[in-house]
Amino acid sequence: MRKLICIFFTALILFSCDPKPAEIPVPMETYVPVYASMSDVQQISVEPEKATINAGKIYAYQNYIFQNDLYSGIHIIDNSDQHNPVKVAFLSLPLNTEMSIKGNYLYANNYTDLVVFDVTNPARPKFIKRVAGVFPPANQEYPPYTNIYFKCVDKSKGIVVRWEKQNIPTPNCRR
């Protein structure tokens, strides 16, 4: 009987001293916010044409077609030769989603602001005016996708200007 009890307790001790290996967090595909300052967000420039990354809303005006690249800017396409439309420029406009044209004025959103460009030469938009603080901030809570993990936004770090896919362990947010 004592032997049995001894064996029992020895076994108990042996098993209890055998720790399970710690859980190692596995890196997962996660959207990570990229922060910028307000002055970065208000940086506007006309750049050479480039590939479309996040195809967005479209707009037609005379011989030109405009396509938003989500939260990034506007592709400008010359359609004067309707058999051969070509991209001619990219208007870099952070956090842009919308545009509309009347006469030779292009109206667009730039984060919380309405901005106006002279598009007398549509391939070379010229910035004219900013009406600040008229739209609510967009893209500041979560990325524009669903069924994804993301790193929660820390507003003290600045304005979320875009999201980047990275592999990081234990993302703390999901949608």
């Binding site: 479309t52 195809a55 479209i58 009347k102 004025y105 109206y107």
Partner: protein
């Protein structure tokens, strides 16, 4: 005599040059471009209208380069779509469509909001032609419903749209029309064409167009401009029932 004609010509040339001067303070009576059915900016007359989640903003753009915010209206919650039609604005939200009068363009006035959620819902891009409106009602995502459809409405009494027909589709998004052909973007089935010469009975035109995953369209100057998930596809719609691929621009 020749000298006076010459001077007259000079003077008229000079005058023409002055008219071309586009200072930012000159009145903007220029032409308006065309956006797709998913736009949240819309220009009509001398005003730019914009919707966000809760509000409608009205900007006076009569001085083209100097827009002035004139009005902000609280509309509701989860506003998604904006569609100007004659002297009205259709604004779609999660539960209903609000119809505003812009007879006084700076002061949109609510005409009606008592519309059944089954009739028009917020995820529904709408286009109108005369006294008929077409909308795509999509079931996936937050929009709900059991079958995605193209819906047709009698809008003779614009404050009381009546659903008169539905046509089952796959996963519809934006739409647009050119004369009697309605183009509907269907992510599952491609670009669908409907004959709408009898608008209450849209008839599917038997043609298969599947060069991309279509999100929205703008029929413009004999070209169908398609927004796809990778960029743009352009079709020649000189024969609007038989789009001919021009080019993909990605």
């Amino acid at each position: 005599m020749k000298k006076s004609i010459f001077y007259l010509l000079l003077v008229s040339l000079f005058l023409c040059q002055c008219q071309k001067d586009s200072s930012s303070l000159s009145k903007n009576s220029g032409s308006v471009g065309q956006g797709g059915s998913l736009a949240r900016f819309a220009i009509t007359g001398n005003y730019l209208y914009s919707v966000d989640e809760n509000q409608l903003k009205v900007f006076d753009i009569s001085n083209g380069g100097d827009p002035v915010l004139k009005n902000t209206e609280d509309i509701g919650f989860e506003i998604e779509t904006l569609f100007p039609f004659k002297d009205k604005l259709f604004i779609g939200s999660a539960t209903q469509v609000y119809i505003y009068s812009i007879e006084d363009p700076a002061k949109p006035k609510l005409l009606s909001s008592a519309i059944s959620p089954d009739v028009m819902r917020r995820c529904d891009p709408v286009v109108a032609k005369d006294s008929v409106a077409f909308a795509t009602l999509r079931t996936n995502g937050p929009c709900g419903g059991t079958q995605s459809v193209l819906a047709v409405y009698n809008i003779k009494d614009i404050t009381n749209p009546l659903q008169v027909a539905t046509y089952p589709v796959g996963e519809p998004y934006g739409l647009g029309y050119e004369d009697d052909v309605l183009y509907v973007c269907d992510k599952q089935r491609g670009l669908l064409l409907f004959d709408i010469s009898h608008p209450y009975q849209p008839t599917l035109i038997n043609i298969s167009i599947n060069d991309g995953s279509y999100v929205d369209v703008i029929p413009y100057q004999n070209t169908l401009i398609c927004w796809t998930t990778t960029g743009l596809i352009l079709y020649d719609i000189t024969n609007n029932r038989n789009p001919q691929l021009i080019k993909t621009v990605n």
